[in-house]
Amino acid sequence: MDTQKTALYNYHKSLGAKFVPFAGYEMPVQYPSGIVEEHKATRSKVGLFDVSHMGQLLIEGNENLVIELEKIIPTDLKKIKLNQSKYSFLMNKEGGIYDDLIITKVEKGFSIILNAACKNNDLKIIKNALRSKFKLTLYDNLSLIALQGPKSSEILEKTIRGVSSLKFMNGNKFSYNGRDIYITRSGYTGEDGFEISIPNELVEDFAKRLVTQGVKPIGLGARDTLRLEAGLCLYGHDINESTSPIEANLKWAISKRRREEGGFAGYNKIKSDMNGSLTRLRIGVKPEGKIIAREGVKIFSKDNEEIGLVTSGTFGPSVNQPIAMGYVKLKFSKPGTKVLLEVRGKKHEANISELPFYKKNYVR
């Protein structure tokens, strides 16, 4: 399969981006100033991310759609308000996660943002579950860009009047150059910010306009360090088809009514995990020294018992130290627990840590 390019590819190139293949797309991993500067610019001012590789799915339907979708997505779709967004999952029968997603109630039905690497498979799963009763559109004519950082609201308001009054995890239709665009106040960095769904033919003009106003273009490299500091999961690494949302410490993302009533794929596993059969938990880990524990690093107890695995790890530029996420046996999951990380054959001292590593700054 040929690698695909987003509508902003040439613009990234003109900015001097380094590209990497990611989920079938040529994506900018960093620009000339580098990952650490991009990371810090997002935390202190505002950064622009091209996330057009992600899937933008619209499912059209009403009450009947709610009933069907609730069988595979464990959020309370009866209670969700128009233009409200929720973080949720596409569940498999075993209680694992096919994908994590953001679902938004829109006028026509539901809009869902899916991971790039999962989107085609997700579409099949959802189609199958809905038994062709509803219209599904996975848009390839829409781009998606994220504007993230404490100055994002002030900057975006200059171009899109009224956007600063959106509440966190809420969206709305706006207009740019006479065309409809949809903006939600959300993101993947631990900062205030917006995700803007915009027609491909307008996105370069829109991005340039923001960059001219001082917004820094940010690549996938800093996107990863930012989300890790914010304690957010990366699908395919921190969560996958064999991790349940309870094991992943994401119980909060399953609505209360759904936790009690069930009625969705994998509920048996969720229920038993919540009722005492949980054996492992996603945790944060901070090495005591400078060693970086990356995906696959084994975690040991102080007594050298193997107790888990790192699923993501890097150096966190804002916390100014190495950070990692992973899974450990439940009894070792308490923050402050001393553990050992085996990196290149040597064991290094580390501590189980609270997540997020970096304190959030959302506008609610």
Binding site: A222, T225, I292, F315, R344
Partner: protein, 126 residues
């Protein structure tokens, strides 16, 4: 006067008598991006030409550092372990990695001069 040579694995060697100072090239440091971790070999360790003799990590990934010559590690630069970002600032100067007592001087003949290395780096950007 010291003589400077370059390896195909993007290390530089500065030679004074039978002691070589080794580091990573400007090109390598640029390619790695922000360096956030450095691991150096133990003093007194014997290393073989092109054998692993350290690790550098950027925010993105870990890479091995190789020794361009065979010999015994006589000194390591602890300051870059404490401040890995210094490697990006002055990779071919103050941010050297280790010093090595050269066992076989003829190995130096297999290394490149500056002009040849720059050409090599241009042709092999990764």
């Amino acid at each position: 006067m010291s003589e400077k040579k370059y390896s195909k694995k993007h290390e530089w060697v500065s030679i004074e008598g039978d002691i070589a100072t080794v580091g990573i090239t400007n090109h390598a440091a640029n390619l790695l991006g922000d360096i956030v971790f450095v691991e150096l070999p133990d003093k007194g360790k014997n290393v073989e030409k092109e054998g692993q003799a350290g690790v550098v990590e950027s925010t993105k990934a870990a890479s091995d550092v190789y020794t361009p010559v065979t010999g015994e590690i006589t000194e390591t630069n602890k300051s870059i372990v404490d401040d890995p970002a210094a490697v990006n600032k002055d990779p071919e100067g103050t941010s050297w990695f280790f010093k090595i007592k050269i066992k076989n001087k003829s190995e130096l003949n297999e290394l490149m001069n500056k002009t040849d290395y720059e050409k090599f780096a241009k042709e092999n950007p990764n």
